[in-house]
Subunit: 262 residues, 2 copies
DNA sequence: CGCGGTGTTGATACATTTCAAAATTTGTGG
DNA sequence: CCACAAATTTTGAAATGTATCAACACCGCG
């Protein structure tokens, strides 16, 4: 105990290791990070606009959503954060939040002080890069959300979201699969930029097509292939290709010359 | 010349310095970065899916857009990149693109090898942090795009985009202001997730309201206050608060205890 | 001078929203 | 374990914002 609850950060270390190469020292440093476990009640905004933060929140258990809102008060989620995510890793470099984060269910979080994270990042450039990469994966997902919300109709959009979450939960996408997603249809509306009513109708269609059943507690995918087809889903944006950290060869052309590319 | 075209990166150095504290050595290292100037033709996708990149593209002049597309072939922009932006800084940590980037106008870019950037980031943790922060600002803008596309009607959405670009161009937002934005209405449609026809009608309304006039070349804001009101625009997401790098004080409670927050 | 890309406008179609009410589930205290 | 209140899901009917289709005007450019 005494100031250290390190073991719990293990999933985060594994996550980083899945896309970046960490030295033994890096892992050690991470596992020694001081953390403070906090129970967060459902519906609570644990990151709020205008409130500078000095720690990152690792979600040990539960579900959270990053959101913005229009002046009309309508919420729009820009990300779901599931167990194993460091929900606001970006706050390490931007401590003044530009989006709020809300716990959708009662959650357990590990708060990691910025000072400690900054220290380990300063001590190891490899670790700093791993954190930056983790952050950038979030951003890549964000870019997909823009496409999803902007250019797909309700059915496709919902299907795409359900596919994304299936992959992120590591639900085996063989034929059928299932995962726990404790959200109301209003939450799904906030994520897909639809109304709750239309979410309901859209889920009904997907269910009647034999693709997927969504309850307030879990998602049952009956036809993974069919769902991904409907969803126009390509999971490659979710995985960073592990670093075959080959040194890039010297550029073919000398630097400094202006050239034209058509 | 001889392999170095460093002076041109000056705007990038200033940009980093505007939100992060760089040491003299950091600035030196940046200004010594090898670059290759490239002329990119309008409409050319200079970052494409499936083509791993080994350099970052700094936009010296011109306009570019990051985009994704649905299988139906419909494009959706997730960012505009203007002169002074490092369009794909994130590629340094994620060299396999998950979004394409297209030049909207004939542009001049400075290509900076990943190897060189990685070297300077490795040598200076402060510089690495500055790059990460720059990247995270892009992500914060991305999150706002989700809200904009998801929860605002056409008029508000377009107004918001025009406000964002005004601030990013540094156009003085006193009363009226103007900036160069060489885009077609189709480009605006790709950015706002509307159709080109509806963009046309929406711009007409904004013009008739005396708020702003948009031609294919430039944006003339007639009533900044009115436009920001209509747009539901708050510019704070565009600026990272400069680092008053105070050490965060030690946490009030001992680490390791589980507590509850309501 | 004509041609392709762009901007403009109108008429119509349609996906989604809005409003409203009932059915169902969930949570909670007795 | 029940009873009740609150939240959520479900369904219908009507309204609406935006898309679609189509035609024409404009402009820069070869």
């Amino acid at each position: 105990m005494a100031g250290i609850a390190s073991d719990n950060l293990q999933p985060f270390i594994s996550r980083l290791a899945s896309h970046s190469s960490l030295s033994g020292e890096d892992r050690q440093a991470l596992s020694r990070l001081p953390t403070r476990a906090v129970q967060v009640a459902a519906h609570r905004d644990f990151v709020r606009l205008g409130e500078r933060v000095d720690h990152c929140c690792f979600i040990l258990e539960g579900l959270a959503a990053r959101f913005g809102q229009s002046s009309a008060g309508e919420r729009q989620f820009s990300a779901f954060h599931i167990a194993g995510d460091m929900a606001d890793l970006h706050s390490l470099v931007l401590p003044n939040p530009t989006s709020g984060i809300q716990a959708l269910t009662t959650s357990t979080e590990l708060m990691v002080p910025h000072s400690a994270l900054r220290a380990v990042a300063k001590a190891s450039s490899g670790l700093a890069e791993a954190l930056w990469r983790e952050c950038s994966i979030d951003a890549a997902i964000l870019a997909q959300w823009v496409v999803n919300v902007g250019r797909r109709d309700a059915r496709t959009r919902m299907a795409h979201l359900l596919c994304e979450m299936a992959v992120r939960y590591g639900a085996p996408g063989d034929q059928s699969c299932a995962y726990v997603l404790p959200v109301t249809q209003m939450h799904l509306a906030d994520a897909t930029a639809l109304t709750a009513v239309h979410v309901n109708r859209t889920l009904k269609v997907l269910r009647e097509d034999g693709l997927v059943t969504v309850t307030g507690k879990a998602v049952q995918v009956h036809d993974w292939a069919g769902l991904t087809t409907v969803a126009d889903f390509d999971p490659s944006y979710l995985r960073a290709v592990p670093p075959s950290v080959l040194q890039s060869r010297a550029p073919a052309r000398p630097m400094g010359a202006l050239e034209r590319v058509h």
